[in-house]
Amino acid sequence: MDDWWKKLAATYRFDPVTTLALGSIDTGFTSVAAGLSVTEAFNDPEKSFAARLEGEKRFGFAPLPRIIRHTLLSAHDFGGDVRLPSSPLDQAMKVVAHPVSDESGVLALKAPDPKTAGGIETAMQFSRLQHQIGGIVWFHHRSPFTMAANICGMEWFGRWMIRKPDLCDHLIDMALDHIFNVLDYWIDTFGSQNIAVYNSSPMESNQLISPKHSERFALPSHQKYINRLNQSGITRYFFHVCGEQNRNLPYLSGIADWHHPAIISIGHEVEISVAARFFPEDIIYGNIDPQIIQSESPQKIDQICQKTLEQGKTVDAGFILALGCDLPVFAPVENVSAMKQTVTKFRKSTFGF
């Protein structure tokens, strides 16, 4: 474990080692706040990275994570029609057409080129910029299950989970291999010691699938994923357990043999104390409802952040105040600033500076 990560862990155990304050997933917000369009935010590595650095100074964000968009986006990488966001309403890449929608299409799928598919070249440029300033390079992808569902779309994937589970397993295996093929490219370029991996799993939420299906389809791929990650030499792991996943947590904690401390990011649907119970050796990251930062007053934001920090203070392995998902482009700047002020105030009252 390197110094940077140790310092991070110490900080978020409320040991006042550094002045790091907030974590944030905010490509759209920081870019627009810096005067860029959302299209530039997702497509221009230099401008997007400069905006991210400016946002870190202005809003007190820690580099947790620094991303331009998904390093891998399976619908894009496997040959679907994917468009860049064109208005602040979008905030993410748009899948216009999935690569496949039938069995023969799935079976005919070929592994994407790990250096050129989809937006990989753009993500590599963004990673090089991070590396140039001596920072950790973030590798951002969805979970194998989520990526697999993104190849054919959840409407097909959901049906196949019941009707044709072998097809789903095949897609999940392809997604898993793709992740590590591209990750190998990153490791060859930057070295495993300089990479932090960010994995998110929105399609596994219990708003979409049952815990039973999560156990059947997602969990084995998580286990394979962790085994391969551990073999890769990468020790920094950030896992965004996206959405309502309370009933998946027991399964996920059962395979938590990743390097500790990892960062476990949770949405507002999961209680901080619950996440800390299931992942006692890891830093908990969250769990402000993104909708609140967009629609409430700075005073209300202050109250909510204060309450969340009080809850986070009890987490033994450490806590990072952050939103439970992406920071919306439309979040008022004064609300985001309010988060920073609350953290500063909290640190002062807790540590006296």
């Binding site: 309403l89 409407e155 019941i162 049952s210 439309f330």
Partner: protein, 221 residues
């Protein structure tokens, strides 16, 4: 001619086929309804609709999730495709209400909207589905054209939901009596109220109930 008791058994089998997401059986049973000269409306109301209502209960109870709902809606549509050509003009006019549904601009997540559509169809509504990533202008134009009782707006993203007040204003400007309801993962009752919506549905199953409540409030007014 099948007698009354046999009819009921047939309708129960039909509702069970929907609940069991048995698309093939649903289609077969509906063909049997037509071949026996039975009323297609009764088959819909006492078979398909009840089946989807049970699906909704399973969803609320955490027994069914999106994959199961997708297959149940397939079973519903398989049956409806057989029965629909046999509905006469009078049947068609006996609707629970007329609704426009769509996913707002900037948002391409339509799985919830598609399932909501199935729920409304099963409950006897005339549904006009505008699809996904629907502009404010299209919502207003279609409202003017269709003259629905209700317009239902869906959003899955915290950013895209921000266009809802504009759509609601546009519809209000056209006809203040048309009710607007909203739903989707980032929404809440509080946000719906702030946006000026008449109704809010936290999930797919609540959508039809909320629309019925709005229809009832319209009648009372």
């Amino acid at each position: 001619m099948v007698d009354q008791k046999e009819n009921q058994t047939l309708y129960q089998q039909l509702s069970q086929a929907v609940l069991d997401y048995d698309e093939v059986l649903s289609e077969q049973l509906c063909k049997k309804v037509i071949d026996a000269g039975l009323d297609p409306v009764s088959a819909i109301k006492q078979g398909l609709t009840i089946g989807m209502a049970q699906v909704g209960e399973y969803y609320k109870a955490g027994r069914y999730f999106i994959p199961e709902l997708l297959l149940c809606s397939d079973a519903l549509y398989a049956g409806l495709d057989v029965l629909k050509p046999h509905l006469n003009a009078q049947n068609q006019s006996q609707r629970a209400g007329k609704i426009i549904i769509g996913v707002v601009e900037g948002d391409i997540h339509d799985i919830g909207k598609n399932l909501l559509k199935a729920m409304f169809i099963a409950s006897g509504w005339e549904v006009h589905d505008l699809g996904k990533d629907v502009s404010c202008q299209t919502f207003v134009e279609q409202t003017k054209k269709v003259r629905p009782d209700i317009v239902a707006l869906s959003a899955l993203m915290t950013t895209s939901m921000m266009v809802m007040p504009t759509v609601i204003d546009g519809i209000r400007g056209l006809d203040p009596d048309i009710k607007v309801m909203v739903g989707g993962a980032p929404m809440s009752q509080d946000v719906a109220r702030k946006f000026g919506a008449d109704g809010y549905a936290p999930d797919i199953v609540a959508g039809v109930n909320e629309a019925e409540r709005l229809m009832s409030s319209t009648t009372q007014e």
